[in-house]
Assembly symmetry: C2
Homo-oligomer: 216 residues x 2
């Protein structure tokens, strides 16, 4: 990190969004982009773009803007997505299957290298991605063998904490949690929750609130 240590979480989120937009800009043949244009594309504010990038260094050219290719490389480095990450998916239900076949992941270096379940009917089954469903009891060994650094929980809520515990025991300390529950983990472990129901609740609240206002 070039400057301060206090980076807002929101900055990291936006960097990811800038990055995707830069890919599109490159694809469309752009070589340079101004903070104003990038902000516009990302539905943000130019000063914010500059400040976000400013936390990590000076990537622009005054009077010109940012090099589309170079800035991608810089952001990849900042986000640590300039390399592959191996993921293990725990819970081969509909959602787990969907993620295993999610093309966007592999295209971006997020490799699903193992899938686990505890259902005897599923264990051993061949997946479209070429993987075989493994017994959850093999988790520990497989994580070590396959160099898995990210665990993805796609089990029902009732199993999520137990799975998290298994992942922790196997020294996985980054979890993407799709189950509709908050798992508790020690400080050293990072959890990103993706909770569909919470998102729907927020949407409903806003929708209701908006229509309520309209009736006044």
């Amino acid at each position: 990190m070039t400057k301060s240590d206090k980076i807002p979480d929101a900055t990291i989120t936006r960097l990811s969004i800038y990055y995707r937009q830069l890919e599109l800009l490159e694809f469309d043949g752009y070589r340079m982009v101004s903070s104003e244009k990038l902000a516009w594309l990302c539905q943000g504010n130019p000063a914010q773009v500059r400040k976000d990038l400013g936390y990590f260094g000076e990537f622009g050219i005054r009077g010109v803007g940012y090099d589309v290719i170079d800035l991608q490389a810089q952001i990849k480095k900042i986000l640590a997505i300039n390399r592959d990450w191996n993921m293990g998916i725990v819970g081969v239900g509909n959602l787990g299957l969907a993620l295993l076949q999610h093309h966007n992941f592999s295209a971006r270096g997020f490799k699903c290298v193992a899938a686990f379940d505890n259902d005897p009917d599923k264990i051993g089954a061949d997946l479209p991605s070429g993987l075989k469903v493994r017994d959850i009891r093999e988790l520990d060994a497989a994580i070590d063998e396959l160099d898995i650094e990210i665990g993805v929980i796609t089990t029902p809520a009732s199993a999520a904490q137990a799975v998290a515990n298994l992942l922790l025991k196997a020294n996985v300390n980054a979890i993407l949690n799709f189950s509709p529950t908050r798992i508790s983990v020690p400080e050293c472990c990072l959890v990103q929750n993706i909770d569909f129901t919470v998102m729907l609740d927020i949407l409903c609240h806003k929708l209701d609130h908006q229509t309520t206002l309209q009736h006044l």
Copy 2:
């Protein structure tokens, strides 16, 4: 709304989380809960719990706490989840299928009442949920007929904006967007983005940052 109009977004998110925890508390037989206990269960802070609730009214009993059943009802009203919402899913890929079978949705009043695609091979297919995949060209008619208020986009990024436009034309102004792109919509339309890749990017950044610190 009982008090101010300036409710932080984060408050709404937390209310959804409190709500789910209250369901569990009720299931476990609790009748009352203090802000301290609820905060602990939700990995939050008691003052925050009280402030969040305080935006909407006085739901507690001093010296005692909150009635588990009553507070659920209050939060349901605040979030506008005290009724059913009809959703239409656009894009019957793996993710769309997963959502169509997602039991948590229907259990909470989020009803998937239609599924749309533009792939002739999929149109007309019977889904496990009992629905038939509809032609995207029927979107407008079906939304009106089935009273759909929430559109769920599970198409590839390339199709997302076009789908959003169709939804807007059909007067759907709440969208849950799973596609890895930011769609642009008029002010009147609400969008909640659920972007798996952004979440992974954040996780990688934190993971990398954490391990970097450890090596110092």
